[in-house]
Assembly symmetry: C2
Homo-oligomer: 143 residues x 2
């Protein structure tokens, strides 16, 4: 597992850098939220997202996702509404209380990405985005 992880380690480092900054910003904005909760919350779409989809995108089991969503709910950051298209399902949506956190996290990520762009140059940055987007086709069990 040693040297071969190379690319994996590189992605791990970059990914964590982004995630940590987003989480830190959310906490500093007064958010009572853990990293794992934030990771799930970040996948909630503007019109709400089903639990199963959140689980798939976060790459955890439904039970884990449900647990994290429960805590987000207890903290007041999400609500559950019945899915009009499927009586079994419920859409999880961010509440108004989550807005400041989302805003802070977004700003922190944007700021960090600007630093990246400054370091890499616009061209490399675009290439990075392009390569990762293409990779998604073959690595994302969800999209």
């Amino acid at each position: 597992m040693t040297e071969s992880v190379n690319l994996g380690v590189l992605m791990f480092v970059a990914y964590r850098a982004l995630e940590q900054r987003a989480h830190k910003a959310a906490v500093e904005a007064g958010g009572n939220i853990t990293a794992a909760q934030a990771r799930v919350a970040a996948r909630i779409g503007p019109d709400g997202t089903r639990l199963t989809d959140l689980a798939a995108q976060s790459q955890v089991t439904k039970q884990t996702a449900a647990h994290l969503v429960n805590e987000l709910h207890r903290a007041g950051y999400v609500e559950r509404v019945t899915d009009p298209e499927d009586g079994r399902a419920r859409l999880i949506r961010l509440t108004a209380a989550a807005e400041p956190l989302v805003h802070a996290a977004n700003a922190a990520v944007a700021k960090e990405l600007a630093v990246w762009r400054g370091h890499l140059g616009a061209t490399r940055m675009e290439h990075l985005q392009e390569a990762l987007t293409m990779l998604r086709d073959i690595t994302d069990p969800w999209a």
Copy 2:
């Protein structure tokens, strides 16, 4: 936290794809090892690595790293030898028992990366490596 994570989500997906394949291969090779344990084990250098360094590279606290190393030790995959350069420190090294797992994980990662290269083309793959390597300068608190 929604749309801005974009690049972060992309890296998350690709990173997890690699990590999961490595872990899966290690388990299928008979390894009694969890994902978190494997993540730490993957950072152990050929001549052994100090606990503090493992913690920094895995981005967890010393206590967490120590806990995972303890379990790896209990399973027989690592040993601790005193660091000749520092009486306080001990080097954590992989044992012979870990070798089949390392081999299997390496092979799985190499295979996956070959798929990536096939999908992206050699040039994009190199650009990806280059960009991530450069990013490390500004995102890795360790290296």
